[in-house]
Point group: C2
Chain length 219, copies 2
DNA sequence: AAAATTATTTAAGTTTGTCTAAATAATAAT
DNA sequence: ATTATTATTTAGACAAACTTAAATAATTTT
């Protein structure tokens, strides 16, 4: 099946939002793709026609088996390019998403298998997310949570969900990046701020707002 | 200026056809881009509006200085990706064109400068064509001619202009590839066929049709 | 359970890049 | 210098992916 860039982006977004099983709503998808609900409805009809999703009016969207397979191919391409950009071109992890977003739409089995080989067939990308293999199989995603909901004491930073440059600059200033190990010192209940410590750095206090956008997993 | 993929392809094709100075005709451009003359006229109006070309009804098209700059950026991206595919992913020179055709449209100064650096800032691509630098400067193109028009005796293969798999298979069978050194043994005037010899191979006779599609330069 | 709110869909219109068919201009042939 | 041919442009339409505004369905609130 030959999909347009827009169609691939819808499939990928549905995959991301579906997260397990429940149907994806029109609104959620519109928000994710920065488009309007009416556009989502239009596209849903088209993707249903192509048997990539199941969709009934007012009932939300779920990927069909073919849809899931397609999604995994796009995810594989995206994550392999991220590896390339970080490992070979020395980009930092927060820069690569947008570029990979474009590179992922170059559809060529051969290109992707050669790229994977060139990178040493990596199984996780620079954000710590697993890379599907050519058959769509991958390790189960790490149990990430946002920092404000973490219950373990010692944690590793796995991603930053908000890509705004303000947040990235803040994290940069505090030497917090992918793979940084943190220790939670205290929760302050009156404003839900969190005091954390990075090795060799003074302890710092982080607002709930910031904590919500830092993804971590237990060490 | 933010150009669409289609616009970039037009600019690149105009650059390719302009070859020196003379204006590009509507028909030639339509043929090159595998589209219809009417579509070319439409696009010409748009590109003129954006000041990338000069164009007057029935007078053909030439790139403006900005247009040329844009074209060189696209050519730079294309040729760097070709280097990457051949040098790092072990593609053969005849496979890379289509892939580079897609990769070239990922517009990021930083990506391209990093890629160039990663490749060791190459100045010629796998087809022997010069790669423009970040400022659009490049070595002057090699004096290629098609094999049927070559006047020197000893030649190097620099490109194959027809990308059909039939021709590529033929060349493969005869061990002729980019960089192969040939010697012209004889021209047969009755059908313009050419007898050539590759080192360590028996001499072979090539039709005019084939010779027209093999680009060479004097050794 | 009715009213209010929110979510979703439909209808109609836009833009980009294409197309076909018809009209016009430029060039070549007699 | 007409006529014929070829090249180019215009006009009108189409598909993809989007938009806004209005209509309808689903969900929540009271």
């Amino acid at each position: 099946m030959n999909l347009s860039v827009a169609e691939e982006n819808y499939i990928k977004a549905i995959y991301k939002l579906q997260e397990g099983e429940q149907a994806v709503t029109t609104n959620a998808l519109a928000y994710e793709l920065e488009t309007k609900p009416a556009s989502v409805t239009d596209m849903a009809k088209k993707l249903k026609e192509k048997k990539l999703i199941s969709y009934e009016k007012y009932q939300g969207i779920t990927l069909s088996p073919e849809g899931r397979k397609t999604a995994l191919q796009v995810v594989r391409r995206h994550r392999l390019w991220e590896c390339f950009l970080v490992d070979k071109l020395s980009f930092s992890w927060e820069e690569v998403h947008e570029l990979a977003e474009e590179l992922e739409h170059v559809r060529s089995e051969k290109l992707i298998s050669r790229l994977s080989e060139f990178l040493g067939n990596p199984v996780i990308d620079p954000h710590g997310d697993p890379i599907p293999d050519a058959n769509g199989r991958m390790a189960k995603p790490r149990p990430q949570t946002s920092l404000d909901q973490a219950n373990a004491r010692r944690l590793v930073v796995t991603a930053v969900s908000d890509q705004s440059s303000a947040l990235l600059a803040f994290l940069n200033a505090k030497s917090i990046k992918l793979g940084t190990q943190l220790e939670i010192i205290a929760h302050y209940e009156f404003d839900n701020s969190i005091e954390i410590k990075v090795k060799h750095q003074p302890a710092i206090t982080i607002s709930e707002q910031v904590a919500k956008n830092i993804m971590v997993r237990p060490l």
